[in-house]
Each structure stands twice: as structure tokens, then as C-alpha cells.
């Protein structure tokens, strides 16, 4: 007997058993091979997320030495413009150097709000517009690309529209298509669906709740939070590349509420005793009201600094690599190049982390 018209039953909620068995077998093989001395076949790559693309010497060296010049370059964002009531591109990258000799994958970030507002008819023109803009930026900068990555934190309500966009984009663009996958999407694929793409990119960061509480663990990466999600990883129905975090930010908190995540204020500014007092590890309180780097800081505002170290990276890589289904070559993408080049990390550190895969 079937129950007609009932929204409680989710189509496709049951996983095909044969698939599970197959995946499971793969995992077994993977674990067994893991017993031997590991030979990593992973490729290293970097994200570049800033609006102006110009690599300094350190970044260029790091890219060349560790990643064979493979960059996932954010081309532009797609956002919903409230005032104009339309979907528009935003923060288009300004490429200020010769990009033709680099191995570039265009990345487009699309806000979930875009899909909340767009109607089905709008998806066609969005597809066309995104494809054209990618090709225009690529052509102008002599970039020959073989794949595109779309980044969108879609939700249950936007899933259908987002997936339909991916399908039509793939048929228009014809290159390999990759979509970002967040940890919650790995854990609840029956709810959020699996995007119709060639490959997924697992974002192995931003896993914890960004919290005003100074005792709350690092939200960029922490082992315990990651652990809650990754048991479902072997069963995910897409081959997965992995993105690892290498960035820091200061969380700006007022009256116990998060105001913004800020990367223009860092440790250097927070150590200024005229402005801040260090109240506990990595937490700083403003002792008066003032402007700093274009931000207005109010007396008693709190900044919580979250940073990722090489140790964190190794821990994250060891943790996630254990749970991934086997893949011939996997791309390990570090987020992101401009922050890394400003840090103390070196090529050998990156190689060491990538060797976990």
C-alpha cells in the first residue's frame, strides 16, 4: 500500500545496498593497502580567493615547488542583489599577472540566497551568464582550463534549483565539473542530496560553531567536531578531493554576539596594549572605543583569534585521509595561497601534509 501525497517520505532515502557493499569493499581494500608503506599519489594545489590576483615571490615559489602551479582561482561570486531584485556577479577577480603559464581551475562561489530567490526560468540565464563570464575571464588572461569548481552551501530548500543549475551548466560548459561538499552534506546526504557533478571537493574546515565563547574549540578545525562527521565519508557517492584550511581570523564579538569575522585585524594589532588587553589565550578585549583598519571597535568588544598551525594541518590530514574512499589521484587543495605565503609555512611542510593522502 502506498500513501498518496505524503511529504514525510523522502524519495531515495534508502541507500542502494549494492552500492554500499561496493563502496565498503573499496574501503577494505584501501585499509589493507594502507598497511603497507604508503606511496602518496595526491596532487597538491592551492586556492586563491582574493579579488586581486598577483602572487608575491614566496607564493609563486611555493606554488611551483609544491603544487606544479595548480591553482583553484576564485573568478567571481554570484549573489542576490536585494535592491535590484536580480542575480549579479560580484567581486570579480582582477588578474594582474601572467596567468597563462599556471594550471588554473576557475572557481565560482554562489550564495545559497541566490537559489532561494531565483525561479526555475532564471536558472537558464544564470547558467549562460556564469559560463560566459568564466570564459571571458579565461580568454582575456590566456587561461586554458579543463575543469570548473562551483562552491555553494546549498540547503534542502534550494537543492533542486542548485542541482538543476549544475546539470545545465555541465552540459553547456562541457568541462569536468566539481562541486564543494561541506561536512554536514556528507553526513546527511539523504537530506541534502548528492550534486550531479563529476567530482566533489570536501571542505575539511569551518566545522565547529563560530562561537563567542572563548572556551569553545577552534571553529576552523578541531579534531572532535570533525570526528562527528567523517564516519559517513567512505559512503559518500562522489569521488572526493579535499580542501584543508590554512588561514587565521579574528572573531569580533560584541555583547556576547558575533559581529563579524575579520581578517584585517590580526595578532599584531591585538598585541597593541593601548587598545587591547589579553584576557585569556587568544582572546583580547578592547579597553576603549576606536577605529582600527577601517573597523570601529567599541570598548569591551572582544576579539577571539583562531589560527591553524602546521600541527593542526597534519592532524586534520591524518584524520580525514583514514576515512576517504580510494581514489587514483586526489587533489589536496590548501585554503588559501595569499594567507599561506604570509605565514611561516614552507614547501616541505606542505609536502608532509599532502603525503598523508
Amino acid at each position: 500500500m502506498t500513501v498518496e501525497n505524503n511529504g514525510l517520505i523522502h524519495n531515495g532515502s534508502t541507500v542502494n545496498r549494492i552500492d554500499v557493499v561496493l563502496i565498503f569493499c573499496c574501503v577494505l581494500i584501501f585499509f589493507c593497502s594502507g598497511c603497507k608503506k604508503k606511496q602518496s599519489s595526491a596532487n597538491t594545489a592551492f586556492y586563491y580567493w582574493k579579488t586581486s590576483f598577483l602572487l608575491d615571490q614566496k607564493a609563486a615559489d611555493l606554488l611551483q615547488q609544491t603544487a606544479q602551479n595548480k591553482v583553484y582561482l576564485r573568478f567571481f561570486d554570484v549573489v542576490w542583489n536585494e535592491e535590484k531584485n536580480e542575480v549579479i556577479p560580484n567581486a570579480q577577480v582582477d588578474i594582474r599577472q601572467d596567468a597563462g603559464r599556471l594550471n588554473i581551475t576557475p572557481v565560482v562561489y554562489i550564495t545559497n540566497k541566490t537559489f532561494q530567490h531565483i525561479n526555475v526560468a532564471g536558472i537558464d540565464s544564470l547558467t549562460k551568464n556564469v559560463n560566459q563570464l568564466i570564459n571571458r575571464i579565461a580568454a582575456k588572461n590566456n587561461i586554458r582550463y579543463t575543469q570548473v569548481q562551483i562552491d555553494c552551501d546549498w540547503s534542502v530548500t534550494t537543492r533542486d534549483k542548485y542541482f538543476s543549475f549544475l546539470k545545465s551548466f555541465k552540459s553547456l560548459n562541457k568541462r569536468q565539473l566539481e562541486a564543494t561538499i561541506r561536512l554536514h552534506q556528507v553526513k546527511y546526504p539523504e537530506r541534502t542530496g548528492v550534486p550531479p557533478v563529476d567530482k566533489g571537493l570536501l571542505m575539511f574546515y569551518n566545522m565547529g560553531k563560530i562561537s563567542a565563547n572563548s572556551k569553545q574549540p577552534n571553529s576552523i578545525y578541531n579534531f572532535a567536531d570533525a570526528e562527528k562527521y567523517i564516519s559517513s565519508l567512505p559512503y559518500y557517492k562522489l569521488p572526493l578531493d579535499v580542501a584543508l584550511p590554512f588561514f587565521s581570523w579574528a572573531i569580533h564579538i560584541r555583547n556576547g554576539k558575533i559581529l563579524r569575522v575579520n581578517n584585517s585585524i590580526g595578532k599584531v594589532q591585538l598585541l597593541n596594549k593601548n587598545y587591547f588587553v589579553n584576557t585569556s589565550e587568544e582572546v583580547y578585549r578592547a579597553v576603549k572605543s576606536f577605529y582600527l583598519s577601517g573597523v570601529y571597535v567599541k570598548e569591551n568588544d572582544v576579539f577571539k583569534l583562531e589560527e591553524i598551525t602546521t600541527d593542526n594541518l597534519n592532524e586534520a590530514a591524518a584524520q580525514v585521509s583514514k576515512h576517504l574512499a580510494k581514489l587514483k589521484t586526489r587533489n589536496i587543495i590548501y585554503y588559501e595561497l595569499s594567507s599561506i605565503s604570509a605565514s611561516a609555512i614552507e614547501a616541505k611542510d606542505i609536502r608532509e601534509v599532502s603525503a598523508h593522502f
Binding site: M1, T2, E4, G7, Q132, R260, G294, Y296
Partner: protein, 765 residues
């Protein structure tokens, strides 16, 4: 120069700042989405207290600028002003429409033709272009106007924002031609007329501004820098809008060169000048570091200029600090007013209108600093509008649950209110009324008498029957209904409580329904009761209908019919399909589309049920009649084809999903036990194996639905949207069907049509 007018100050500044926005990190705050406006959760109307020139900055968290009066298009912002200025200059002898055509709408080619025609060098004018050669305006002035127009149009190429499709390539900024600079310089030197000369000054400053932005090799620096040229010439011109628009470019120049202290100071002067200048100036005002901010403060030449600076800081960042600083300089400044309204409107958004439990009370945000500041200012009584500060101090106290203190401030304010301002008086009434409700402990007859008028007033406002423009009353309305409902509930008067806040569970009791009917039918209602019932959507016929349907589910059909007949109007609701039919797989759409001779209304359906039951009771055709009753009872549940029978505003009718049925009624409207009982009776009395097979299968549907209901109602699944059907037990009827009826035709039909059953069978073969 129209172009100058057309030129958008903020547009240019937008360009300047676009580079900056990149470095500002993403904001983590989730925006409240949807069609929700802040003023729906507000009891404090800025329009009552603050000068309209500040209205774009009234607080609304979801939009950049408030209201519909603002113009944030830099290409058009000054159009009207420009036309008006020239209209006055030409002594009103050239019509506004003609000026609008020439200044705003026409391209350079057309205005050149008009000028050549005026000079007698062109005979035929393009269509729609005015012939100024016959104008009775002063010929010399006209000549100046038209020659200026030619230059101004030429400047539009680089100064007017080029609009483009965002998905297309962004147009490159147009080159700023060197010869244009020479022409402007010559014209400026030759022009004596101050009106025209000031406009040429503006053009030149803007020309310098765009020229120095260009990095091309063709760039040749002017002899004077932009600031030098500005300073050298400014004394001869009046301090009018043209002056401040020119100053905007000077500020932009400084900003671009990293001289933030000076840039922000100049922006503040522009902000202060006029309504039109406020949006672009406030937008551009962006101190970067404490050193430049203190530098800006030092540039202020007097207290009023300092006030504008603090006012700008207060709008975007820190109203408390800004109010404190401004008040110390000039307690009568009208620049305090906007900040106070923003302070209050932003705080009330984060405080829910009603604290129904301790938990949310504990979430109260700390308003001590704000209260102490505003209360002290109110007490000192030195401001421009003392009643405003007293109301604000009172309201902040009320938001912090300090009701007694709040009342003392309101009492002071009441005596200071302007007696002829409808909006302010209404604002006072909103605050006073909600405060009254907040400290009301018990509603007695006296309280009811007092509440009748404000409740009616709010009701009429909410229905648009009365209007007080701009008044924010929705928060007060929500507060009133929730607070009064809670008080009545506490007092045990559930009927009145339900009038203000309906809860479906109220209607589970027939006694309460009867009490509600009595109230609705009461012949002479008090003014309070009339006011209260405005808020009560339920009608007496809805209650009769509810009683009738409840009796049907209790199998008291005769009593149900008595009620049904009184449910006038609703009893004629047409059911979409034939509720006495059933099929193997439920298909409501098929049933609704099936042509049938008989269409049933709710009442005729009930009457037919009564007839069938009478025959059944009399022992006539037992199997068939039992089956018909079974079908009827099946179909008036969620699983059947006659959902209209139970759906109503009282019990929920939002969707076709189970969740659309209000929880207290969900069990009754999904339960299949009565249908199952009658299918079994039909089976017992059936004459053929085929029929027995059919009723067995139908009983299995009821059984499965009941199991499904049980899962859905279980605590663990309460908030879940996901169930697996294969977890539902197949039940005894499938086994019976397979073991006893596998030779029947009906069995084969079921096997064909019902995948669930065929899976069951295939696993057991």
C-alpha cells in the same frame, strides 16, 4: 553642465570605495530573510520625533536606506535642483520642461544643434528640440547657458556613471581629454557671470579629479593641484549646493590620496549642507584608524562641526558615545534626535515583545548604559524636545522590565506633549497602553472597561479602517493580544484567552465550545466584548460544524446531523470525490476527477451515512453496507479522498500534509480503526471469496496506516520528516491474503497494483 548635475557624487565615491570593500571581511550575521519589516516589531516611530531630512537613516536592519523618499542614484540625484537653478537664472523665461530636455535628457549633438540654431547657424532643429532664438529670456544669459551646456555635455563622457549589465564586461572609464581641460580653463577665465563661473569651477575641479585618477601616459598634471585650485577660487562663490558638490570632489581627492582625516571632515560638511547631500556623504564617511579620526575632530572649527562628526559616527557605529559627546556640546542639537531613534529601534529589535517564560526573560539584553544616558538627559530637561527623551527613557525602562520607572518618565512626558500632533499623541498612547498591560496583574471588570477603547483603536488601525501615517503599532498589537491572552489563561478564563490567542486544543472540549457559542450568541454585548470579538475569527457556524464532525468520528451520527444542520453555509461544502468509493491504491486526484452522478455535500454525505447505518443496524445487506461505511470512514481521514470534510480554520487546513492538521486533532483525523472495524464486519458477512479478499486487503490498508500513525506520533519521530516504509510491520492481513485468497482474481489485481504487497509476496516465495 547638466552633466554636472547628472554627475553623481555618490557614484564616484562608490567607485573609490569599491576597492575598499574587498578588504572588509564577510559579515557573519545571518540576515533575516523574507518579507519581514522591522517596523512590524517596533513601538517607536522615528517620524514622530526626528526631522524628515534624516529619514533615509531611520533604523531598519534589513535595508540600507529607510522609506521611499530617498534617491540613491548618483546620476539623477541632483537633476531637479539643476533644472531649478537654471530656471531661476534665466528669470523663469525658459520653461522647466525645456530646461529638463536640454540639461538632463538630450545628448551633446542635440544641444549643439540648439546652440547653433540660436546663433543662426542652423536652420532646421532636430525633432523635439526647442527653438530658443525666439525666447524672451536675456540673450546674453541664454548664450552663456548654451555655451556652458556644450562644455558640460562633453564632460559627461567621463563623469556620468555608465550603466551596464553586470554580467557583461565593465565599461572602461572614458578618457579625460586634455583639450577639454583647456576649453574649461579658457571658459572659466573669460566668464564673469558668477552663476556660470561657479559651474565652470565645479566642472574644472571634477575634471582635475578624474584626470588625476587616470594613469595613462597622456596625463599631464595641471599647473595647480585640485586642492590648490579649489582653495584659490572658492571665496568668490556662494556656499550653495554647487559649492558643496564641488567640495565632494575635493574630499574624494583626499580620500584617494589616503588623507582620511581631511576627507572625512569635508564629507561631514557636505552631509550637513542639505538632504540631497546626506546619502552620498554619509556613505563616503569612513574613518580608517583612530589617528585619522582624531585628526578629523581637530579639523572641526566649532562645536556644530564637531557635532556633525559625532553624529556621523553615531549613525553607523556608536550612538551612545555620539549622544554623550553631542549633548555635551549642544543639548538642543537636532542631530541628537536621529541617534536616539536609531538607538531605541535597534535595541527593541533584539527584545521580544512578550516574555512568557523565565528562559526568555533571562535573555534580556543589558540596557544599563543606554538607560542611564537617556534618563539623565531626560531629567536635565535641556533638549529640543523634552517629551521625546522622557518617552525614550520610559520605553528603554519598559524594555528592561522596569515598569514603575517607565511610568514616571511617561508621566513627565505626557505633560510636555504637543497637543496638536496626532502622530506624537498616538505614539504616546502606544507606549502608555503597552506599559499598562505589562504591569497589569489581573483583568477585572474595571480593567475590561478600560481596555475596550485601545483594543478597538488598534484593531481599526490594523484593518486599515483608521490610519495614522507612519505610526508603528504592530508590536503593540502583538503584545496586547499575547499579554491579555496570557492573563486570562492564568485567571482560568479560557474562552476570553482564546479570543485573543487561538489555540486548537481549546476546541477539544465540548464544554468550552459551548461557552464560546454562548459568548458569540450573547444578545447585548459590552463594549469590551465587542472589542474582544473583533480579534476572534471564529464564527458560531464553524463551532457547530466542528461539533458535528467530532460526533461523526465518535459514530454519533444522529446527534451529528443536528449540529450539522446549524452549521449554515459550511454544511454545503462540496466533497471533491465520492467518499463511498475505495480503490487498491489511494488516488485522490483520480477520485476527484472521476465522473460521478452523485456529488456529496458535508451534510448530504452525513445523511447518506445515517441511512446506510440504519440499514446495517436493521440487518439489511450487511456486508455491502458495512463496506460503504468503512469506505466513508476511511475517506474522511487524512488517507482518504474527502479531506475537505475535516479541514477547517480551527483545526488546520494549510496543506495536504499531516502536519497541516493541528496537533490536537491529528490523531482523530488520521486514525483508521473505525474503517478497519467495518471492513472486518463486511468481510465476515461477505458471500464470496473475491469480496472477502477485497475487504481483507482494505483492512490491511487501515492497519498499515494505523502503524504509520503510531510511528509518526512517537516521541522519537516527532520532529522527523523521514520515515522508512519498510519498517512498518506488514501485519496479519497480508499473511491472510496470501494464505487464504491467493486463488482469487482480486488477489492478482492487488499483486499487480500494489508494489508493497508484491514485494511482501516475492520475499516469501
Amino acid at each position: 553642465m547638466l552633466q554636472l548635475l547628472k554627475q553623481k557624487i555618490s557614484g564616484k565615491f562608490l567607485l573609490i570605495f569599491s576597492a575598499l570593500t574587498i578588504t572588509v571581511a564577510g559579515i557573519v550575521w545571518a540576515c533575516g530573510g523574507g518579507d519581514y519589516y522591522d517596523d512590524e516589531n517596533s513601538s517607536f516611530t522615528p517620524e514622530a520625533f526626528v526631522d524628515p531630512q534624516y529619514s533615509p537613516f531611520f533604523y531598519e536592519s534589513s535595508t540600507t536606506y529607510y522609506g521611499s523618499e530617498f534617491n540613491d542614484n548618483g546620476n539623477t540625484r541632483f537633476n531637479k535642483q539643476v533644472v531649478d537653478d537654471w530656471y531661476a537664472y534665466l528669470d523663469k523665461k525658459v520653461g522647466r520642461q525645456i530646461l529638463d530636455t536640454l540639461l538632463i535628457k538630450s545628448s551633446q549633438g542635440f544641444t549643439d544643434s540648439v546652440y547653433r540654431n540660436f546663433k543662426g547657424k542652423l536652420k532646421d532643429l532636430p525633432a523635439g528640440m526647442p527653438d530658443l532664438s525666439k525666447s524672451n529670456a536675456d540673450e546674453k544669459q541664454l548664450d552663456l547657458f548654451l555655451s556652458y551646456l556644450t562644455l558640460a555635455k562633453a564632460c559627461e563622457s567621463y563623469a556620468v556613471n555608465q550603466e551596464y549589465n553586470y554580467w557583461d564586461e565593465k565599461p572602461k572609464p572614458k578618457a579625460v581629454a586634455a583639450e577639454l581641460g583647456n576649453m574649461l580653463t579658457t571658459a572659466y577665465a573669460q566668464t564673469k557671470d558668477v552663476f556660470v563661473k561657479q559651474r565652470l569651477w565645479f566642472q574644472l575641479v571634477r575634471y582635475y579629479y578624474y584626470q588625476q585618477k587616470q594613469e595613462s601616459s597622456a596625463y599631464t598634471a595641471p599647473k595647480l593641484t585640485l586642492p590648490d585650485f579649489f582653495a584659490q577660487e572658492e571665496a568668490q562663490f556662494p556656499k550653495n549646493i554647487m559649492y558643496y558638490r564641488t567640495m565632494g570632489y575635493l574630499a574624494g581627492y583626499y580620500y584617494q590620496h589616503g588623507e582620511f582625516a581631511r576627507a572625512n571632515y569635508l564629507y561631514s560638511l557636505c552631509y550637513n549642507y542639505s538632504f540631497e547631500m546626506k546619502i552620498p556623504s554619509k556613505w563616503s564617511f569612513r574613518p580608517q584608524n583612530e589617528s585619522d579620526w582624531t585628526g578629523t575632530l581637530k579639523l572641526a572649527q566649532n562645536g556644530e562641526e564637531k557635532i556633525t562628526l559625532w553624529h556621523l559616527l553615531g549613525i553607523s557605529q556608536d550612538p551612545v558615545r555620539a549622544i554623550r559627546e553631542i549633548y555635551a556640546i549642544n543639548p538642543k542639537s537636532d542631530k541628537l534626535d536621529l541617534l536616539l531613534s536609531r538607538l531605541i529601534n535597534s535595541k527593541e529589535q533584539s527584545i521580544s515583545p512578550v516574555y512568557s517564560n523565565e528562559e526568555s526573560k533571562n535573555k534580556t539584553i543589558d540596557l544599563k548604559t543606554e538607560i542611564s544616558l537617556v534618563a539623565n538627559i531626560a531629567k536635565e530637561n535641556k533638549t529640543r524636545q523634552p517629551f521625546y527623551w522622557n518617552l525614550a527613557a520610559g520605553y528603554l525602562n519598559a524594555l528592561s522590565h522596569q515598569y514603575v520607572t517607565a511610568k514616571t518618565f511617561y508621566n513627565v512626558a505626557r505633560k510636555q506633549l504637543p497637543k496638536d500632533n496626532k502622530l506624537i499623541l498616538a505614539q504616546y498612547k502606544i507606549l502608555d497602553w503597552t506599559l499598562y498591560l505589562q504591569y497589569l496583574k489581573k483583568i477585572d471588570a474595571a480593567a475590561e472597561a478600560k481596555m475596550a477603547e485601545p483594543l478597538t483603536w488598534l484593531y481599526r488601525l490594523s484593518q486599515g479602517k483608521d490610519a495614522i501615517p507612519d505610526l508603528r503599532f504592530h508590536r503593540a498589537l502583538d503584545q496586547s493580544l499575547q499579554l491579555i491572552a496570557a492573563l486570562y489563561k492564568k485567571q482560568g478564563d479560557l474562552v476570553k484567552s482564546n479570543c485573543f490567542e487561538q489555540h486548537p486544543a481549546f476546541y477539544l472540549s465540548n464544554t468550552r465550545i459551548e461557552a464560546m457559542k454562548t459568548l458569540l450568541a450573547k444578545p447585548k454585548k459590552s463594549p469590551f466584548e465587542i472589542a474582544m470579538l473583533n480579534y476572534c475569527n471564529v464564527k458560531i457556524e464553524n463551532l457547530y460544524y466542528l461539533q458535528a464532525t467530532q460526533l461523526v468520528y465518535q459514530e454519533k451520527l444522529d446527534q451529528a446531523l443536528v449540529m450539522m444542520k446549524k452549521a449554515e453555509g459550511i454544511n454545503a461544502t462540496l466533497l471533491l470525490g465520492n467518499p463511498f468509493n475505495i480503490r487498491i491504491n489511494d488516488c485522490h486526484d483520480c477520485d476527484h476527477a472521476a465522473p460521478g452522478k452523485t456529488r456529496y455535500t458535508a451534510q448530504s454525505f452525513l445523511e447518506t451515512m445515517i441511512n446506510i447505518k440504519a440499514q446495517l443496524t436493521a440487518g439489511k445487506d450487511v456486508s455491502r453496507n458495512a463496506a460503504l461505511l468503512a469506505n466513508a470512514y476511511y475517506n474522511i481521514t487524512h488517507y482518504g479522498n474527502a479531506r475537505y470534510f475535516y479541514q477547517s480554520d480551527i483545526t488546520g487546513s494549510i496543506t495536504d500534509m499531516v502536519q497541516g492538521i493541528d496537533e490536537p486533532f491529528r490523531h482523530v483525523y488520521t486514525d483508521n480503526h473505525i474503517a478497519e472495524k467495518y471492513y472486518l464486519l463486511a468481510r465476515t458477512n461477505a458471500k464470496t471469496k473475491e469480496l472477502k479478499a477485497k475487504f481483507t486487503f482494505m483492512a490491511s490498508k487501515c492497519d498499515h496506516n494505523n502503524e504509520y500513525n503510531r510511528m509518526m506520533e512517537s516521541e522519537e519521530n516527532r520532529n522527523s520528516w523521514y520515515f522508512q516504509l519498510d519498517k512498518i510491520p506488514t501485519g496479519k492481513y497480508f499473511a491472510e491474503l496470501m494464505s487464504q485468497y491467493s486463488q482469487t482474481n482480486y488477489y492478482r489485481e492487488v499483486l499487480n497494483e500494489c508494489g508493497y504487497f508484491s514485494t511482501y509476496v516475492s520475499k516469501r516465495r
